[in-house]
Subunit: 205 residues, 4 copies
């Protein structure tokens, strides 16, 4: 009885952190849409509005890229915390850092969307891809902090259940670094590589 | 015992996805209101403000239409997931696509509200109604992905419980396509058909 | 066993609606703060910024009034749904209408804050107070729809548990109507009455 | 049986308040990011955008400071409510006041970020640090209201479990007051003290 109560207490701890984290992911992903809109032109004709909407493709593309990236990060966060039954200070702090980065995703997204058709395209793509290198670095650190202390894991989790997540975090970090490196050579190749990585994640999930 | 635990684990999986989806619906619906406001005029008289507020009717109408559409989509999402006990890759990806569309509803809503009294009315209504055709298409695809694999359903769900949802998804897609077609002929008829569809949904719920 | 399962199913139904409603209340209340901010003046001195901040009192006052009003509405919504174990169509639809009104609270709040120091003060206060008459009317309707069907109530709820909520909803509607009427005579008296009503609610809770 | 049901009822009461509070913390923290963005310059070169991004450091710094402050407040709120099993009027009202302050954190954050490089630096830092003195005062009041009535605590909570929270709330209030006092002497020393306090909290957690 006492044991069950303790176990439940532990589970509740992680649960509240997961719920809070989910909230940040959820709000960050929905706030992305706030940037997208057309300005009122009171004398607009039907074809004017049509062209105004068509011209919004760069910001819509940036929105789609960020939405998928944050959603994949959420799935990663989920599969990581599924294995934990409690947290310690390091996990809490690195998770806080990760949430801070996730909440700020609208900033690089806006930058990418606004400058995709300007002469500053390369800087915009480098800034955007570098941002996600930092995000995947925070994920890798979070997982490192968790695996340092096997006491945090749900009882019965074995090495063979931990290893796939370690591999995923490593691959994510390497892929994002390659995408960043590609941005220095050619921004469009870099964005194409992002799409390729998604297909890999979705297929391997 | 083992079986119950497994069952619970499965339920928790769906639960977290539902909670996340609910969050996106909830935030999208509340963010719609951000666009509505009057500009400060420091020398405004009482009748000035009265007229400023009255002139806000197009954006308020667009807000109401979108609020009801998103709420109906949420109810549909709810009744769909109520039958599932776990998810697979296809359901996860199509649900992600659906959430991306829901989160972006403020964009067509703003466009509709801003251009309702301009010469670009027809384009605005076509854009808005076409957007919801895509939303109902995503719903239909989600349901298709779910019904392809009967293993995803809660044990005991029968054909006769699945069929009404299939019918609803089909009707939704057909209705939204008719509303879009009407927009090409007459934007106001199209908006009136939206109202008629709501009454149908509410009565049939 | 079968009975317990059914009962749980019913509770889960209400729970998800309550969670969604809580989300709308929660986001509406937090979005109110988005309107408050000072514009950058790059050549500002310390006393310039001090005066800029002091001049923000009308929007801060409007924020405080709306925050308390939405919080009281949330408490009312909570105590209302605490008695229900399931919902029907009327309750769902009126609740949807109520959420639509709650989500739009930032609009009258902004209007009040912006025009509090202009010649349009009276119109702003009338608009604001009339808005909350509509909100309390929606609450009264929601409660009416719930009490029409005793089957919706948790088993064991008696007349004497239902009556206080009925009385509260009625008092709320009457109070808000008086506050609106007062706004036609004197806007400041109207706002003072709002404060008085809060003290009544808090004391009677 | 009756006792367990009552106990559960009490727990649910606190739970819903905690969930609502979590929501406000979560949204407030994510909304902070909305202020950060660069304006479109259609003729921007790569180095233009680079310099535009670099110039955003003050608002990014303000974002990081506020994110950590709100996250620490959330952890404090969490550890405080963990000990309570039900609430009374005073706790509800003071918690409402606290949420109102948390939801408004974007206002002082924006002010700090915008005026960090202007002549109004001192006023901006004083406003920001004074705001968090008020926040920690609200926390201290909330804890005072809770400890006044031992009936609110989970059965089995002892003096030795209550004392650390009392000490933390007192230290928080004193630290924030010192940080405010330092802002009158030197704004940068004040911000440095904020960082030092975080390290203290993280180490002592």
């Amino acid at each position: 009885m006492e044991g069950t109560k303790l176990e439940n207490q532990f589970q509740k701890e992680t649960l509240r952190l997961e719920t809070f984290s989910d909230g940040v992911f959820c709000i960050a992903v929905t706030l992305l849409s706030l940037e997208i809109g057309v300005e009122l032109k009171t004398d607009a004709t039907n074809s004017d509005l049509f062209h105004l909407l068509i011209q919004k493709w760069p910001i819509c593309l940036a929105y789609i890229i960020s939405f998928v990236n944050v959603l994949l990060a959420w799935i990663g966060h989920h599969s990581l915390f599924k294995l934990l039954r409690k947290t310690n200070n390091s996990v809490l702090i690195i998770n806080g850092l990760l949430l801070m980065l996730v909440a700020l995703v609208p900033f690089p997204t806006k930058t990418l969307g606004l400058f995709l058709q300007t002469g500053a395209l390369k800087t915009a793509v480098i800034f955007y891809t570098a941002y996600f290198v930092v995000v995947s670095l925070a994920f890798r650190l979070l997982w490192h902090a968790a695996t340092c202390n096997r006491d945090l894991f749900i009882s019965g989790v074995t090495e063979s259940q931990i290893r796939p997540t370690t591999r995923n975090e490593n691959i994510g970090l390497v892929c994002n670094t390659i995408i960043l490196a590609a941005a220095f050579a050619n921004p469009w190749v870099s964005l194409a590589l992002s799409f390729a990585m998604w297909i890999y994640w979705i297929a391997s999930e």
